[in-house]
C-alpha cells in the first residue's frame, strides 16, 4: 500500500481552494469526543429572549426577524431573489446530508451559499435567513482552546416551516431540493458520524474517478432504491448514510458505524441481509452495502467485532449464500483509507474493501478477502436493463445536494415541460404547445376483418 498526500492525487473538484486538503479533517484533527456541539435553535432562542432569561445577540442569527426570513420563502423571492436561491441551495444540502459543515457547504455548492457579509444587511446570506426562520440549526464546536478556527455546523431545524417553504416552490425548485423525497429530520444523535459520512462522500466524489454521483441520507431511503419492491414499515425508515454511484450504475450503500458490539448494529446488518436476499433477481448486485468503521482506537478490536457480527448474521440466515449476499457486503476501516492527516491510501481511489467470500477458517467462519469495489471486472454488474440504471446519474445530477462538478456535467430536465405534459385535454395541450395525446400515441390498428367470400350460386328461378 502506498500512502500519498491529497495534493498528489488527481482531484476532480475544479476549484483548488475548495478541495479536501484545505478542509478541516473531522477524523484526525481531534474535534470530537462525545457531543460537544452547541446548537442554536431559533425557536428556543426566541423563547429565551421573550422570557427574559437571555438577551438577543447581534449575530448572524439575528440578521433577520423570523417573520421577515419566512417571507423570503413564501413570497417566492419577490423581495430578495438571491437570498431565496441561496437558502434553497443550502436547504437541499442540509436536508440531504443531515449534518454538514460550512466548508462542505461551500465545496458542494461552489461557494454559492453565504454565511456572513459585513457590508450589507441583505448579504448575511441564505444561511442566516434559514437559521432565523428555523429552517436549519447552527452548531458551534465547544473547545477548551481559544482561537480555534472551526467552521460552523448546520443541521435541519425542527420547524414545520420547512414543509411550507418546500410547498411554495415550483416543481423545478422542489425537485432540486428534495429529489422527490419527503424531507424528514432523521436522527441527529451523532454529529461526528454524519460529518464523516458527508466528508467521505465528498472525498469519493473528488478523488475516485469511477464514482459518478453521491447521494446523502435524505434522498436515498430504501423504498427509493427499490421502488418496485414492497417495503415493510420496519425497513421503510432505513436509509444508508450515503450512496455512491459507480459509472455502470452499481449503488454502493455506505453505512458509517462506530461500534460493532451493539444490538442496533446487529439489527441493521440483519435488515440489510434481509433486503439483499429479497432483491436477488436478474439485477442481482445492484447494491453493495459497505460498512465503514470509524472507531478511533488504534487497535483492530471494534473492526473485528463488526466483521464477526456480519459473518454470524450471514451464517444464520439460511439462504444468504445461495442468493450471493456475501458478495454484496463489505467492510473497511476509515483509518486504512486515511491513515494520517493529509494523506490518502491509494486503495481509496478504487475503494479497496474486504468481503466475507474467502474459505472458511478453523472456526467455520468465512475469511475476509480484499476486493476493489470500483474495479468493473472484480465486482461485475450486468443489469438486464442498463439504461434504467443510468437514470440515477441524470436525476442526482439535478439536485442541489450533489457536488457541483458532478452536477454541472449533467443535462438539466425541463420540469415546466414535464408539468405541461400532465395536462390531458387536447385543446389545452394545443394551447401550451404540445401535441394531442391521441396523435402522440397511435391508436392500435384493428385486425383486418376476415374476407367472407360469398359464392355465387346460380339462381335456379331466374
Amino acid at each position: 500500500m502506498t500512502i500519498v498526500p491529497f495534493t498528489s492525487v488527481t482531484n476532480r473538484c475544479p476549484a483548488p481552494e475548495l478541495r479536501v486538503e484545505h478542509r478541516v479533517d473531522p477524523f484526525h484533527d481531534g474535534l470530537w469526543r462525545g457531543t460537544n456541539t452547541l446548537w442554536h435553535e431559533a425557536r428556543l432562542a426566541e423563547r429565551r429572549v421573550e422570557s427574559g432569561v437571555a438577551q438577543r445577540m447581534r449575530r448572524i442569527d439575528a440578521a433577520y426577524a423570523p417573520a421577515e426570513a419566512r417571507r423570503a420563502f413564501t413570497d417566492l423571492g419577490r423581495s430578495n431573489r438571491q437570498l431565496r436561491a441561496e437558502a434553497l441551495q443550502a436547504l437541499g444540502l442540509i436536508a440531504s446530508w443531515r449534518t454538514i459543515s460550512f466548508e462542505l457547504l461551500l465545496t458542494f455548492s461552489a461557494g454559492e451559499v453565504r454565511e456572513r457579509s459585513s457590508w450589507h444587511r441583505a448579504g448575511h446570506g441564505g444561511l442566516g435567513a434559514g437559521v432565523s426562520s428555523g429552517l436549519f440549526d447552527r452548531g458551534e464546536l465547544h473547545l477548551s482552546e481559544l482561537g480555534a478556527d472551526i467552521p460552523n455546523l448546520y443541521r435541519p431545524g425542527t420547524s414545520t416551516h420547512r414543509d411550507w417553504s418546500v410547498d411554495a416552490c415550483s416543481m423545478a425548485e422542489r425537485f432540486k431540493v428534495t429529489g422527490g423525497c419527503h424531507l424528514t429530520r432523521g436522527t441527529q444523535g451523532a454529529d461526528l458520524h454524519n460529518m464523516l459520512a458527508v466528508e467521505g462522500s465528498s472525498r469519493a466524489a473528488e478523488l475516485c474517478p469511477e464514482v459518478v454521483a453521491v447521494a446523502g441520507e435524505g434522498v436515498c431511503s430504501v423504498d427509493n432504491l427499490y421502488p418496485d419492491k414492497p417495503v415493510d414499515a420496519r425497513m421503510k425508515r432505513v436509509s444508508p448514510d450515503a450512496v455512491w454511484l459507480r459509472s455502470d450504475g452499481l449503488r454502493i450503500c455506505v453505512e458509517v458505524t462506530s461500534n460493532g458490539s451493539t444490538q442496533s448494529f446487529r439489527a441493521k446488518v440483519e435488515r440489510w441481509v434481509e433486503r439483499l436476499m429479497e432483491t436477488d433477481s436478474l439485477d442481482a448486485g445492484a447494491t453493495v452495502v459497505l460498512f465503514v468503521d470509524i472507531s478511533a482506537a488504534s487497535s483492530n478490536t471494534s473492526y473485528q467485532v463488526q466483521q464477526h457480527v456480519i459473518a454470524k448474521v450471514l451464517e444464520e440466515s439460511a439462504w444468504a449464500h445461495g442468493r450471493r449476499v456475501p458478495l454484496r457486503m463489505a467492510t473497511v476501516r476509515w483509518r486504512s483509507w486515511f491513515p494520517t492527516p493529509g494523506m490518502v491510501d491509494e486503495g481509496f481511489l478504487s475503494l479497496l474493501v474486504e468481503r466475507p467470500t474467502g474459505p472458511t477458517d478453523s472456526y467455520g467462519e468465512a475469511t475476509w478477502e480484499p476486493v476493489r469495489l470500483l474495479d468493473l471486472e472484480a465486482v461485475p454488474f450486468r443489469p438486464s436493463d442498463p439504461e434504467s440504471y443510468g437514470w440515477a446519474t441524470k436525476l442526482l445530477g439535478q439536485l442541489h445536494q450533489t457536488p457541483f462538478w458532478l452536477r454541472d456535467s449533467q443535462p438539466k430536465i425541463d420540469w415546466d415541460r414535464w408539468v405541461a405534459q400532465q395536462i390531458k385535454p387536447a385543446n389545452l395541450r394545443a394551447r401550451v404547445g404540445l401535441t394531442p395525446l391521441s396523435k402522440a400515441i397511435p391508436a392500435p390498428v384493428p385486425p383486418a376483418s376476415p374476407v367472407v367470400v360469398v359464392e355465387e350460386v346460380e339462381d335456379p328461378w331466374a
Binding site: 421502488p227 418496485d228 434504467s388 439535478q398 443535462p411 425541463d414 415546466d416 390531458k424 404547445g433
Partner: protein, 198 residues
C-alpha cells in the same frame, strides 16, 4: 323616455330574456362545479370545456371566477395561497395585476405560461414518479432536457466604406441601371372630385 305600455312590455321581455340567460349560464357553471366536486371531471376538463369554441357552455364558463373553480375541496385559506402563488409567478411586480382572475384570464392564448403554472400548483406535492431520484421515469412519459441554445453567431460586419460618388464619375455610358420607379409617379389623381359616403 316616454313611458308607454308598449315600452314597458318590451323592457319586461328583454329583462326576462336576460334573466333566463343568466340563470341558464349560472346553471351550467353549477353543473360543472358539481361534476368536479364529485370527481367526474378535473379542473382541467372544466377549462377544456371553457376553451372549446363549439361548446354552448363556453361563454358562461369563461366568465367564471377562478376562485370558484379552485374552491372545490379546498378551504378558503388554501385557495388564497394558490391564487397568491399564481399571481406571484405570472404577474410582474410592477406590471398589471389582476385581483380576481377568471377562467378567461388563465386561458388567454397570448399567455400559455399561466396554464402551465396552474398545472404546477395543482400537481401532487410528492415525487414526479415513484422511486426518484434512482428510478427511471415510467414508460409512456417523456422527460425532456433543457436544450442550451447557443447565442446565434453574429457575422462580423467589416466596416463598410460607403462608395464615394466620385469613384464612378462620370458614369460610363450604358452601365447605369434604369431608374427605379419613383413613388411620385403614381400619385392619386386629385383633380377628380370624390364624395364621401356615409
Amino acid at each position: 323616455m316616454i313611458e308607454t305600455p308598449v315600452m314597458d312590455d318590451l323592457r319586461h321581455q328583454a329583462m326576462a330574456a336576460l334573466t333566463a340567460k343568466h340563470q341558464a349560464s349560472a346553471l351550467d357553471r353549477e353543473d360543472w362545479i358539481a361534476l368536479v366536486q364529485v370527481g367526474g371531471a378535473t379542473v382541467f376538463d372544466l377549462l377544456a370545456e371553457a376553451a372549446d369554441d363549439d361548446s354552448a357552455n363556453a361563454p358562461a364558463l369563461m366568465r367564471m371566477q377562478l376562485r370558484r373553480v379552485l374552491a372545490v375541496g379546498r378551504t378558503s385559506g388554501q385557495v388564497d395561497r394558490l391564487l397568491s402563488r399564481l399571481a406571484a409567478r405570472t404577474m410582474k411586480p410592477n406590471g398589471v395585476t389582476v385581483k380576481q382572475p377568471t377562467v378567461r384570464w388563465v386561458l388567454e392564448s397570448s399567455h400559455p405560461e399561466r396554464l402551465v403554472v396552474l398545472a404546477d400548483l395543482l400537481a401532487a406535492r410528492d415525487a414526479p414518479w415513484p422511486g426518484t431520484p434512482f428510478a427511471p421515469p415510467p414508460p409512456g412519459s417523456e422527460v425532456e432536457f433543457v436544450t442550451e441554445t447557443e447565442p446565434p453567431e453574429v457575422p462580423e460586419v467589416s466596416p463598410a466604406v460607403a462608395p464615394s460618388p466620385w469613384d464612378s464619375f462620370p458614369a460610363p455610358s450604358g452601365t447605369t441601371a434604369p431608374a427605379a420607379p419613383s413613388p411620385w409617379d403614381s400619385l392619386p389623381d386629385l383633380t377628380t372630385r370624390r364624395t364621401l359616403t356615409r
